[in-house]
């Protein structure tokens, strides 16, 4: 049976959380629900920096590579001289690569977020449990995860 505490006030909620941690309750059994992001919670619960940023980096890098590879390889496969420009003309291809860097970076960051947050979560969609604007601390048993 999980121990659930509901707070209307942010400061009281943070105090209770700090108390729980000081009492020695293991951090990974504490789950918290908030109506908006509260940065102090991250500090108290020692959350690691989100790994979503790696998705961003990989996505952006693959975007750059794809942009250049795609444009250069397709130009070389059908080498037409257009407008007197060289077959492999870097300035225009740079623009395409720039656009794809941002596109792939943004999409992969979003994908990474969904992955890391385990969203979409069918239990959340169907859930009838609504906390409204309350700050909730849920302490789970040792057995459950």
């Amino acid at each position: 049976m999980a121990d659930r505490r509901i707070f209307e006030d942010r400061e009281q909620f943070l105090e209770a959380l700090r108390l729980l941690v000081r009492e020695g309750v293991p951090r990974d059994r504490i789950r918290v629900f908030t109506p908006f992001g509260v940065p102090e919670v991250e500090e108290i619960l020692l959350g690691k920096r989100s790994k979503v940023r790696f998705f961003a980096l990989i996505g952006a890098a693959s975007g750059t590579v794809t942009g250049f590879a795609f444009t250069i390889l397709t130009s070389l496969s059908w080498p037409l001289i257009v407008g007197g420009k060289p077959i492999v003309s870097v300035p225009p291809f740079l623009i395409i690569a720039f656009a794809l860097t941002i596109l792939f970076g943004a999409l992969s960051t979003f994908a990474g977020f969904l992955l890391m947050s385990r969203l979409p979560s069918p239990s959340g969609i169907r859930s009838e449990e609504e906390y409204g604007n309350a700050f909730v601390i849920l302490v789970e048993d040792g057995g459950r995860r």
Binding site: P39, G84, P91, P92
Partner: protein, 343 residues
């Protein structure tokens, strides 16, 4: 610097440096005028850029301005030095390509006159801005006036002093390019001053607050991207249009060594080094990284001015060295002097 503590010590130093530069640049040997022009271009950009950085920060209530405002604004008297140097350049104006056929806009008296006028106006507005308190009522207005004059002054420097060397080449972007570069340099100097002031600042990441150094690093990062965008806009337009009058400008600067290597160096110093170096949050408040990046930016601006001038202007290494030494000395003296009077 005990000499500076004497009353008027600074003025004497400025006069001495000015006299030395006058002697060097007015001597009849070739390349003196060109060297002075290069020194002038870099110096004016950095000085006006420092004040502009402070002014821009004041208009948006930036937090980092507080720690370096006094030093940044202490370079205001150097605008008078710049005006003097402009007068020393009068004989050099005769070697501009349009000198033989003056028109309404490109004629020696109007040419020097308007640039001088805006330099002096920059001095006046900068002084008024510096005199107002940091968070005073009219401070933002005075900062805005200085910024207007700064934009015009740098644009004129670009169009008149640099672009007309390559007459009849035109680039409408060059004015904007120069004042963005000046601001960029101003932020680099601000970062160096910020480092000097507090030694190693604590990286303060509590509750999303940041140290001033981190803020300045973000500005340098952003301006690096902005600079690269403007560089690319000009380059792409010229490259794509392929019009002989315009392509010549670029061709003279990338066709052969050493200009080609220097041009590539400019790209690295102003973009490819600052961007990866300042990417991570930790690097933004790391004093070593920030000082390397700031120095890279300042040298990049210098090399770029050289690249602009080199194909069309002759230099004399001796004159160049003397001019730069004098101006660097004056800059450091003025900033150190201001720190001495800091409470």
């Amino acid at each position: 610097m005990a000499f500076l503590e004497k009353k008027g010590g600074l003025a004497v130093l400025i006069a001495a440096a000015g006299a030395l530069m006058a002697i060097v640049s007015l001597s009849p040997a070739p390349g003196r005028g060109g060297s002075l022009l290069l020194a002038f271009l870099f110096f004016v950009a950095v000085v006006e850029g420092c004040i502009a950085a402070a002014a821009a920060g004041a208009t948006v209530n930036a937090r980092w301005v507080g720690s370096v405002r006094k030093e940044l604004l202490s370079v205001t008297p150097l605008l008078l030095v710049a005006s003097f140097l402009l007068l020393l350049l009068i004989p050099f104006v005769d070697s501009y390509p349009w000198a033989g056929r003056p028109g309404i806009w490109l004629r020696k008296d109007f040419f020097i006159g308007r640039n001088l006028a805006f330099l002096l106006l920059a001095y006046v507005t900068a002084r008024r801005f510096a005199a107002s308190p940091a968070d005073g009522e009219g401070t933002k207005v005075r900062a805005a006036w200085y910024l207007f004059v700064f934009v015009v002054s740098q644009s004129l420097t670009a169009f008149d002093l640099v672009m007309s060397l390559e007459h009849p080449w035109v680039s409408t972007l060059l004015g904007g390019y120069f004042f963005i570069e000046a601001l960029y340099g101003g932020f680099a100097v601000s970062a160096l001053l910020c480092l000097q002031r507090s030694g190693t600042p604590p990286a303060d990441r509590a509750h999303g607050s940041r140290s001033d150094l981190s803020d300045l690093s973000i500005l340098m990062f952003g301006f690096s991207i902005l600079w690269a965008g403007m560089f690319f806009a000009q380059f792409l337009t010229i490259w794509y249009g392929n019009i002989p009058e315009e392509v010549g400008f670029i061709a003279r600067r990338v066709a052969a060594s050493p200009m080609r290597e220097l041009s590539v160096a400019v790209l690295f110093l102003l973009f490819f080094i600052p961007i990866p170096a300042l990417l991570s949050t930790r690097a933004k408040s790391n004093p070593y990284v920030v000082s390397v990046v700031a120095l890279s930016i300042l040298s990049g601006i210098l090399v770029e001015r050289y690249v602009f001038l080199a194909p069309v202007v002759r230099f004399s290494p001796v004159a160049l060295a003397i001019d730069f030494a004098c101006l660097l000395f004056l800059f450091v003296a003025v900033v150190t002097d201001s720190r001495r009077t800091l409470k």
